[in-house]
């Protein structure tokens, strides 16, 4: 195995994380408009040039990193918590409760891709909170389905039967004997989930349904740059490259993680 296949994506993600976290303390001027700099190409002093309003693109890129990181963080937190809880309970209880929950999940899965998120963020007021809400509404189902499937097989395992026989209460059994065992597949799903959320947030912002100006998102930066592509390609190239790097890194780490943790593919 090549070391750089882990080292490179990991460094990209650490930089992403640091920029998102430290953004407010850096001497940035993401909303500072200078008319004489409109569409200026990259130079040695301003690495990524200026956009159509004369704002420095590097500064906006860093604020965009902050947007995508926080959306990804909150969406994953909500989706994993809600999804795991519903999936585990559904799989454990079984019967009619399970049947109804599975049908509800089927309904959510019937909305292709980010369509439901588009609908939700369009009807709610646009803004970062509603992006998080919309993507969480879409995101929990994958985790719920996975947690349910795992629980269905786990609940017949001997250590769980032993816990039942010993008279452990159900919350305790789920907490100590079921959920720890379904963490590995959830972790793999979560990694690819981050990539999906980062693309979806940028996609919503590209459509004008995400964070609103003057706040920066890589997606809205691409949309703004689209009209000036012939004269100022750096406006589209810079945010797209950032997006690609982050998503690529997450996917690469996800692949490695799956190879490491997935027992099935090893056999």
């Amino acid at each position: 195995m090549f070391k750089y296949q882990i080292f490179m994506p990991l460094s990209v993600l650490i930089i992403w994380f640091m920029l998102a976290l430290l953004g407010p303390w850096l001497p940035l001027q993401p909303n500072h408009i200078t008319l004489q700099n409109i569409l200026q190409p990259p130079s040695s002093s301003v690495w990524l040039g200026y956009d159509d309003l004369g704002r420095p693109i590097l500064d906006r890129l860093i604020m965009g990193a902050r947007t995508s990181f926080f959306v990804a963080f909150w969406v994953m937190l909500v989706s994993i918590t809600v999804g795991t809880l519903i999936g585990t309970i559904s799989g454990w209880i079984g019967g009619y409760v399970d049947l109804i929950i599975v049908r509800i999940m089927d309904v959510f899965l019937a909305f292709p891709g980010i369509l439901l998120a588009i609908a939700l963020s369009a009807l709610l007021k646009p803004g970062i909170e509603n992006v998080v809400f919309a993507l969480s509404v879409v995101g929990w189902v994958g985790f719920a389905r996975l947690a349910r499937a795992q629980t269905l097989s786990l609940k017949h395992r001997e250590h769980v039967l032993a816990a039942i026989a010993l008279g452990a209460r159900i919350p305790r059994i789920l907490r100590y004997h079921v959920i720890p065992l379904l963490l590995a597949p959830l972790l793999i799903e979560a990694t690819f989930g981050i990539a999906g959320v980062v693309i979806a947030e940028a996609g919503l912002s590209f459509l004008g349904l995400g964070v609103q100006p003057p706040a920066a998102s890589w997606g809205s930066m691409i949309r703004d740059g689209k009209s000036y592509m012939l004269y100022a390609p750096h406006m589209v190239l810079a945010p797209g490259m950032a997006l690609l790097l982050v998503v690529l890194s997450v996917n690469m780490l996800g692949d490695k993680l799956r190879d490491r943790l997935d027992v099935k593919s090893q056999s």
Binding site: A110, I118, A122, G203, F206
Partner: protein, 311 residues
């Protein structure tokens, strides 16, 4: 087979009912007064009341739901607030463009993924295999709303080979189809590779080779044919991502389909049209998935008798 069909149809019906209900509820998610949101702050009270009555929003929720359902069954989706035309007519006018784009995207995906995945599997760990896997990793990671503009920059603005946007002949379909199909091609190529690798280890492949069949015949008739089941399943499932991606692709290329209509209607606050678009796209996806299951059952007799495709 009949009982499989029936049970599958029944669960599809439940999902369709759920989807319609969820889409119906969407309008009630609008914060504050949805009618005010549609007409804007400066609307007259009389106009607000008129629209509220026209949309039936002043009736009890259950009555509204019942009316929505019965109208839907009669093909009545209401009228557009913007153009005052029946929504069903607008949708039918836009649908062919979206179907055309989706099929073209699907074709790109299959035509790229099948050879790429097969070569990767047949020459495992070679430079072809590595190349295919790098393509696949890049393909799933590159957002279509970035790839589209890049393709326009290269093929339309710089080289001048293909039109920038619009729907005018086959040439205008090339870039949107590439943009839409790449992600699916990447996922599919990986799937073809791993499934084929599994199948190539089977005894019947050894038998086929041992009886002196040409390698191409072994791969096409014996390996790919048996690998087709999981590939078809993935194709059916991923078609949803394709349909969702079509919305963004249509916006990039000003492709006059249902996706573009969705976003245009969002900008015009023409919520009944937005609802109808979301409904149409998701119901198409449900339909495709059900058809995929039927094809699967038709191809694999085991599914028919066990009565389930998922477990």
């Amino acid at each position: 087979m009949l009982s499989f069909l029936l049970s599958r149809l029944l669960s599809t019906l439940v999902v369709v009912l759920g989807v319609v209900t969820l889409v119906f509820l969407l309008i009630h998610l609008v914060p504050g007064d949805p009618v005010q949101a549609m007409l804007g702050e400066s609307a007259l009270p009389a106009d607000l009341e008129a629209l509220r009555t026209a949309l039936g929003l002043n009736q009890p929720l259950l009555t509204q739901w019942w009316n929505y359902m019965t109208n839907l069954l009669q093909g009545d989706l209401g009228t557009s607030l913007y153009s005052k035309e029946p929504i069903i007519d607008i949708l039918l006018e836009r649908l062919p463009a979206t179907i055309e784009l989706a099929i073209a995207g699907l074709l790109v995906a299959v035509l790229v993924a099948l050879p790429l995945g097969s070569i990767a599997a047949l020459r495992k760990d070679s430079i072809y295999d590595n190349g295919a896997m790098v393509f696949s990793l890049l393909g799933v990671s590159i957002p279509n709303f970035w790839m589209g503009p890049l393709l326009i920059l290269l093929f339309s603005l710089t080289l001048g080979w293909l039109p920038v946007s619009g729907r005018d002949g086959l040439a205008s379909l090339v870039l949107p189809a590439l943009t839409l199909g790449t992600a699916l091609a990447a996922i599919l190529a990986r799937m073809v590779r791993s499934t084929l690798l599994e199948v190539l280890g089977e005894d019947y492949i050894r038998t086929a080779r041992a009886k002196g069949l040409r390698e191409s015949a072994v791969v096409v008739h014996h390996a790919l044919r048996n690998a087709s089941l999981p590939i078809i399943t993935v194709l059916g499932l991923q078609l949803g991502t394709l349909l969702g991606g079509a919305v963004i692709t249509e916006i990039i290329f000003a492709w006059p389909g249902v996706g573009q209509l969705t976003i245009e209607s969002i900008q015009r606050r023409d919520y009944p049209v937005v609802q109808a678009c979301i409904l149409l796209i998701s119901l198409s996806y449900v339909l495709v998935n059900t058809l995929t299951d039927f094809v699967y059952a038709w191809l694999d007799p085991r599914v028919r008798y066990s009565g389930s495709t998922t477990d």
